[in-house]
């Protein structure tokens, strides 16, 4: 599991704005944070090798639940500690496959 909680804590932002996945090799995850209400956002970039899971930021930011769930379902990335990961947006099988983008 890729640990990112401590990196996110160091940014000490006010709010998590978005989680973006990009299908490259290795897979890229971008987190955008709003800090001190500045237009320019703080960015955290994570490389996710195939088969690796990522630590959820839900303990720091409650809204990470839906943002991570979206990435999980679109790309098949597992977010450890997110109860919605892979079952929030799909209304059929509650299973994460990540077939739509990959």
């Amino acid at each position: 599991m890729i640990k990112i909680l401590s990196k996110a804590k160091r940014i000490s932002a006010d709010r998590l704005v978005s989680v973006t996945g990009i299908k490259e090799e290795p897979f890229l995850l971008y987190y955008h944070f709003s800090k001190n209400n500045q237009l320019k956002m703080k960015e955290l970039k994570i490389e996710v090798p195939k088969g690796e899971s990522v630590e959820s930021l839900i303990s720091l930011y409650a809204n990470a639940e839906i943002l991570e769930a979206e990435t999980a379902e679109m790309f098949g990335i597992t977010f450890e500690g997110n109860p919605s990961s892979g079952k929030r947006l799909f209304r059929e099988e509650k299973k994460c496959t990540g077939q739509c983008f990959q």
Partner: protein, 383 residues
């Protein structure tokens, strides 16, 4: 007593757009709420991959069926800095005028639908009649009523003339008295007060914890508005006074939106008076080949975020985080403990825009959950 699951949607008279709300009720009190998505998926993000930037801009403007300009501006805020494109004052102010007119028509649409939810059909008709005037203004300014398509990379397709500005001013003059009258009705109407005050309350602490945005956050005492806190485009030239209330209930969210309509009118009038005589630059201003960036704007529903990656002059990835996604996480919590008869009003007070939010959810072939007509009408029983 059985714990009964009460379905609202995906197609339901009280919903503008398809979302499936599952309300688990004990008597008439909602004990738990869940939502299912995926009924309005169009795959916009995937469609924008490996397309020319201009084509992507065209698609981005059609992400939402109500607010087109806020998506266009968020995309341009991400893309234009990649090419160090400097936006002239006329372009910045013209873009802002369209964005604020869009906020007015979006809030008036919401006000009308909210009144319809409460059974006040006359106010619904009044709001929709006034909104039509703004759509006519869009028609005159851009040639389109809803999807304006006014922006280009670094410039715009038109120059607002003196006649255009006069037309905006005359339209506002014909609306202001009526809108003030409607606002007084909404604030003092006994039925509206009974349906709204104290319902669907969101505390300031919850709004901060769940990262809520837009009028929903501002009705809970959070003075956060991208136009004020991080001014972009024409907001550097025109001061915005954010509308903030502290009650956090449905009534507060209603009044915040109504007051924002008047504030937007003031902003448009001030912006129109500051538009310089120079013309907008000729297109194309500059080509962009590589880069990545993020942009955000204050849409009518709150902060709208776009992440764009460009490679070989084509968009490799566009990620859109609409304000409805940011507020969606609050739905189960705000419905919990409410009476089931208040559910449509509470949901509508969050101003959900499902079609622009659902550019991500996927409808897969394979196993599906099928409800019988009996289950749909009676609700599924859960022990």
């Amino acid at each position: 007593m059985h714990r009964t699951m009460f379905p609202i949607g995906p197609q339901h008279p009280s919903l503008k757009e398809p979302i499936f709300l599952k309300l688990y009720v004990e008597g008439t009190v909602i004990e738990k709420a869940e939502f299912d998505l995926g009924y309005a998926h169009r795959g916009v993000e995937e469609k924008m991959e490996n397309k020319e930037i201009d084509t992507t801009l065209h698609a981005v403007q059609r992400t939402c069926g109500i607010c087109s300009q806020c998506h266009s501006l968020a995309f341009l805020n991400a893309v234009e800095p990649m090419g160090q494109i400097r936006i002239p004052k006329r372009v910045a102010l013209q873009r802002m005028v369209i964005a604020e007119l869009e906020r007015i028509h979006s809030h008036m649409l919401w006000s009308g639908v909210m009144m319809h939810e409460m059974g006040l059909e006359t106010l619904f008709m009044y709001y929709m009649r006034e909104r039509e005037k703004i759509l006519d203004v869009f028609d005159e300014l851009t040639g389109n009523r809803v999807h304006h398509s006014a922006d280009l990379i670094g410039t715009m397709k038109m120059n607002f003339s003196e006649e255009d500005i006069e037309m905006i001013s005359k339209t506002f003059d014909s609306m202001k008295d009526k809108l003030e009258d409607y606002r007084r009705s909404v604030e003092g109407h006994d039925v509206i007060r009974d349906r709204c005050i104290g319902k669907g309350k969101i505390t300031r602490a919850d709004a901060v914890k769940y990262g809520l945005v837009g009028p929903v956050a501002r009705a809970s005492g959070i003075s956060y508005d991208v136009r004020v806190n991080a001014p972009y485009l024409g907001y550097q030239f025109v001061k915005v006074n954010p509308v903030v209330r502290t009650e956090g209930d449905v009534h507060a969210r209603t009044l915040v939106r109504l007051d924002e309509t008047f504030e937007s009118m003031r902003i448009v009038e001030e912006a129109c008076s500051k538009i310089p005589k120079s013309k907008v630059p000729k297109y194309p201003v500059k080509r962009i080949f590589h880069g990545q960036g993020a942009g955000r704007v204050e849409a009518p529903r709150g902060e709208n975020f776009h992440f764009v990656k460009i490679d070989m002059a084509k968009t490799k990835r566009v990620k859109i985080r609409t304000p409805t996604v940011a507020n969606l996480v609050m739905y189960p919590k705000v419905l919990q403990g409410a009476d089931i008869t208040d559910a449509p009003v509470i949901v509508m007070s969050m101003d959900p825009c499902i079609s622009c939010m659902e550019r991500v959810a996927v409808i897969k072939k394979g196993k599906t959950e099928v409800w019988s007509s009996h289950e749909l009408f009676r609700g599924k029983k859960h022990d």
